[in-house]
Amino acid sequence: MNRQIQDAYIVAATRLPVGKKGGIFRSTRPDDLLAHALSAVVAQVPTLDPARIGDVIVGCAMPEAEQGMNVARIGALLAGLPDSVPAYTLNRFCASGLQAVADAARQIQMGLADVMVGAGVESMSVMPHMMGNKLSPNPAIFAHDAHRGIAYGMGLTAEKVAARWQIDRAAQDAFAVASHQKACAATAAGHFAAEISPFTVQQHQPDLASGEVARRERIVATDEGPRADASAERLARLRPVFHATGSVTAGNASQMSDGAAAVLLVSEKVLKEHNLTPLARFVSYAVAGVPPEIMGIGPIAAIPKALQQAGIAQHELDWIELNEAFAAQALAVQRDLDLDPHTINPLGGAIALGHPLGATGAIRTATVVHGLARTSGRYGMVSMCIGTGMGAAGIIERI
């Protein structure tokens, strides 16, 4: 199946720290977050003329309001990329960022471009409604029971997975605690330093006493989500939110977050022209559909496809970023595919680090790229479940 015309190489991958919904980035616009990610990724390869970028592809799961108006193009222009560099926004919900990186790679693989940027952005602070500013499902969804699952909130789908895969509350909470512990340890050890581009938050607050606008700047360099005080006892106190007798709580679900990331990819030709050292090769990407009411098992369908495309065996994966939308679905995927738990989310996952929907795929791509470099691993994968019932998986190889 390996019929690609040429390889696509990742030469830079960077992300901003992830902020909690309503946290450090509450008054920062998502197009500013994106612009920073784009300018930072380009700056990491100073010898490359940005005018050579064929297209900037940006994933965003709720591309409206502050992140509407084709946020990709707005972000690219604000980042100072030349007018000649085009940009577009795509949406595959939680896989949007990974889809953007994969699409960027494919442009190169098919020989349609030599330099591409794949990125992701999401601010859940400015888009507080999980389903957009105007929720308007099609009435036809409710005309047949077969479509009922389309209407499910993500938490309820996790409950369905927990019930069917028999993932109990204690297992979910334990998984969540581990996520926080790993994330805190990784932060303390500085393991995220290579992938993070610090962001300077500019605040403009009314100083009511003086009548002046008080401008403040704050440099943010670490993720806001991880909690050192997370414990099974604390999590056990939380109530299930989505089912009267359920097990999914705010504590064993991913955090709502703000974030952005960008990945710069080039062809072999450009590598040689500029004498660049690639970080990784983008190997394969696959998506697959599953029933909407158990959308969390999406990776079970997508991961084997991606492995097959890559032509490698599952045990060859040294690093797996398996998005923790919910502990229940992550555990179901891990168990069903018999994934090696030691390779999964070594630095913690979305329960601790946050899940800024459309940005997550690009963010975790940066994590795998730099993680493999630090640990000298070879194959890495980013995978996630997707609302309305899909899964995505992308595989990279450290060079």
């Binding site: 105007k134 929720l135 308007s136 499902p137 099609n138 009435p139 969804i141 409710f142 009922r148 209407a151 499910y152 909130g153 309820l156 409950e159 989505f242 089912h243 009267a244 007798t245 359920g246």
Partner: protein, 807 residues
């Protein structure tokens, strides 16, 4: 007590800003109630020495949101309260017009605080202490001379929003005009019932009420009654609060109770009952153990899983609470008139009956002995117990109703026989040949040696029908005014001396349920008003209305006569519309519950005047129905109106979503202000804090609307609705709740019907409809739901048991 200024004009007191000193249980709740009334409050307590300076007050404010019953009329009221501390913020006292001190009951601490704050008070500020027992005069001695005329006691009862009583206690130096102003302000602005108390330990209500609790304990031990039996005997069956004796103590806190008893012990050395002012040893042991009542989850009772256990004082252990009133005693308590009831109680040898007689006897004895020293007159004592302790009637009323002379002789005989708790002889006035203490001319005042009439402060003229005590023979609404029209369901009348141009429509049905006769009467009354009157006010005592008459509905259902149901609903809708489109303004004066059909009628009036304590909601979902008396239509119109003011005038759904959830969950407002926030009343509707002033304000409002030249509104046309897309969006929530096992299949069905009604039917989003379309829709959906066995089961269950059925 002298009320020198009462016949003169009272200078109105206007308080925009107040301070409360002490953020304990009482201070924080008093601050909350001031905030409810729109007063800006600065709440003080000690400064924290590290970090957050106002930590104590902030914690108290956070606690206000969780307390039950709610001290805040709506959470938004919290923004009226600023946190402060004595170290940093005393300068903020400068523009406070009223300062209420509510710190711990220590004379030295209070004096020290007064020293600290006095220099910061405005020269016109009133300072008042919420002490429940300390001498007000002694407290005032610490104050600078210039401040003393503006100092008094202001004793609220817990919980202060919900207990009507405030005791106002002057010192000899207190300026009478200040007291009058405060009494007026407390009445109208805070909705309180004020009595003037003398400066004696524990004042009036607690002095008598706490004695009553002690005497209940005393006699319970003497007659060998368990604490659960004591509660079965001393609750609503004898006209006391439902929490009776021991549950009340658990709520108050056993330590607090013990503190009050100790105050009596140390300050009332010459009280003939002094030897009884002691906490029983077993109660002291319980407190020692840390079981203080509700706040520690254990006291005289505790919960063991789903069962309640009661303390056995002998062993200090708990056992299942099974105590009950004996049938024989219950039969006696059911006897009318009271004279015979008491006679039978005295004759009975049943220990429960003897216990009951004993607690009444000693209560009568105690009140008679102390009336002269603790209160101006018997009315103040009775009102204090009614409003401060939730008794249905005061001790003197009970005595008088049972036959004054007979009871007096029986008490005297028991005293002579050594059976009473004290051998102090009854005061001479008790047996001077009188038949009671309350008369149409006034209530007995031993201090003044005569009967004193009710206070004549102008504020009391606003209460057209005050709660009368037995024997006072005050006019009642039913026997007052001039009847204009009457049927089995309503009475249309007017008060010519107040405003002959305004009709008052009062419902006569039980709980003011709305049946055929009420609807017919309402329509006749509106037609009458359009012909002969300037305006119409809907008013009667609480509740405003508990809803449509379910009996009538159930009967039609049982007969399978759904055409009749349809006609009933049409009639109801016609009455609602008549209220809206009447040629004269209609004003709904709401207090207490306004549920279902009651809420719908209130919503359709031209304007609403709402008592603060109004509990309003469209609760039809509870019986498997949707509002169909115009309720859904009114809320669909509201949504269209609000959308019309927004940037996207045809996007109606956002304004349907909230009300949909309120209706689907049968939410009832906890106050008038919350009803406004929920959409059951309008923002510009008037909120009245004292329910007794409701009719006065409603009549004034109706008159103002009439004077302004009322024109009925034009029927709304081209109303945008949310339609199919809106229904789908609401259904999305329902699917998640149903499949998340939070609601039943029938709940989902009922809520979906609600969604359809609120969204204007299965039409394209943004379609435009008229009022008749919406009314027809809600009516058809209502009848369809009524045909389902699940809805019929819910109605039957509610009628049979008084409780909702989840099916």
């Amino acid at each position: 007590m002298k009320r020198p200024s009462q016949e003169t004009q009272v200078t109105p007191l206007s308080i925009k800003k107040a301070a409360v000193l002490g953020a304990g249980v009482m201070g924080a709740q008093i601050a909350a109630h001031l905030a409810n009334a729109g007063v800006q409050v600065v709440l003080f307590d000690l400064a924290s020495q590290d970090g957050e300076r106002n930590r104590i007050v902030n914690a108290a404010l956070a606690g206000l949101k969780k307390l039950k019953p709610a001290p805040l009329a709506s959470p938004a009221r919290l923004s009226n309260i600023d946190a402060a501390n004595y170290d940093d913020d005393l300068a903020r006292l400068a523009d406070c017009e009223l300062v209420i001190e509510a710190i711990a009951e220590r004379m030295d601490w209070k004096h020290a605080l007064y020293d600290r704050i006095a220099p910061h008070l405005s020269p016109t500020a009133i300072l008042a202490s919420n002490t429940s027992g300390l001498s007000i005069a002694a407290l005032g001695e610490a104050l600078p001379a210039a401040l003393r005329p503006r100092f008094c006691g202001i004793h609220f009862f817990n919980p202060p929003r919900h207990m009507a009583l405030v005791e106002l206690i002057p010192t000899p130096a207190t300026d009478p005009a200040t007291l009058d102003g405060l009494e007026t302000w407390l009445t109208t602005r805070l909705g309180k019932d004020v009595i003037r108390a003398l400066d004696t330990p524990n004042f009036v209500a607690n002095r008598v009420g706490v004695f009553s609790l002690l005497s209940v304990m005393h006699h319970a031990a003497a007659f060998g009654l368990g604490l659960d039996t004591v509660d079965a005997l001393t609750g609503t069956r004898i006209g006391r609060a439902g929490s009776a004796t021991c549950r009340t103590l658990d709520m108050v806190g056993l330590d607090t109770f013990a503190h009050v008893v100790r105050t009596m012990q140390t300050t009332l050395g010459d009280d003939p009952w002094h030897r009884h002012f002691a906490v029983p040893h077993w109660l002291a042991a319980l407190i020692e153990r840390g079981a203080l009542g509700h706040k520690t989850q254990a006291g005289l009772y505790r919960k063991a899983g789903k069962t309640t256990e009661v303390l056995d004082p002998a062993t200090l252990d708990y056992r299942a609470a099974t105590g009950a009133m004996a049938d024989e005693v219950a039969a006696i308590l059911a006897i009318e008139p009271a004279a015979e009831r008491f006679a039978r109680l005295r004759q009975s040898r049943h220990p429960q009956a003897r216990f009951l007689w004993a607690i009444f006897r000693d209560l009568f004895h105690y009140c008679a002995m102390h009336l002269a020293s603790i209160a101006d007159n018997a009315r103040d004592v009775d009102l204090a117990l009614r409003r401060g302790f939730g008794w249905r009637e005061g001790p003197f009323e009970t005595w008088q109703s049972a036959g004054w002379q007979d009871i007096a002789e029986a008490v005297a005989a028991d005293i002579a026989a050594g059976e009473a708790m004290s051998d102090a002889p009854l005061p001479a006035w008790v047996r001077d040949g009188r038949n009671g203490v309350h008369t149409p001319a006034g209530s007995w005042s031993p201090r003044q040696g005569g009967h004193v009439p009710r206070p004549t402060l102008p504020v009391y003229r606003r209460q057209l029908f005050p709660d009368g005590l037995l024997g006072e023979a005050l006019p009642t609404p039913e026997t007052s005014g001039e009847t204009l029209f009457e049927n089995a369901g309503v009475r249309l009348w007017r008060l010519p001396q107040r405003d002959a141009g305004i009709g008052i429509l009062s419902f006569k049905t039980k709980q003011h349920a709305i049946g055929r006769e009420v609807i017919a009467g309402l329509r006749t009354a509106i037609a009458y008003a359009e012909q002969h009157l300037d305006a119409l006010v809907l008013w009667h005592a609480a509740p405003f209305a508990v809803g449509a008459d379910l009996q009538e509905l159930a009967a039609a259902c049982a007969a399978g006569d759904f055409e009749q149901v349809d006609a009933m609903v049409r009639n109801f809708q016609a009455a609602s519309l008549a209220l809206t489109y009447a040629r004269v303004p209609t004003v709904a004066a709401v207090q207490g519950m306004a549920l279902g059909g009651g809420c719908e009628l209130a919503m359709h009036a031209t304007a609403r005047v709402l008592a603060l304590e109004s509990y309003i909601g469209l609760v039809e979902a509870g019986v498997g129905l949707i509002p169909a008396g115009g309720g859904c239509t009114a809320l669909a119109l509201r949504a269209a109106r609000l959308a019309g003011h927004s940037a996207t005038p045809t996007e109606v759904l956002p304004f349907v979503q909230d009300v949909f959830m309120h209706l689907a969950t049968a939410k009832v407002s906890g106050s008038a202000q919350e009803a406004q926030a929920l959409g059951f009343a309008r923002e510009h509707d008037t909120v009245v804090f004292h329910a007794g002033e409701l009719l006065h304000v409603a009549l004034s409002q109706a008159r103002a609307l009439a004077e302004a030249g009322h024109a009925p509104p034009a029927p709304p046309r081209a109303i945008p609705v949310a339609g199919r897309n809106g229904i789908a969006a609401l259904e999305m929530t329902l699917v998640n709740m149903r499949d998340g096992a939070m609601i039943s299949a029938h709940d989902e069905r009922v809520a979906r019907a609600l969604a359809v009604a609120l969204c204007g039917g299965e039409v394209d989003a943004g379609s435009r409809v008229d009022e008749a379309w919406l009314l027809g829709l809600e009516r058809r959906l209502f009848v369809e739901l009524l045909k389902t066995p699940e809805t019929q089961a819910r109605i039957r269950h509610l009628l049979d048991t008084g409780k909702p059925l989840r099916n």
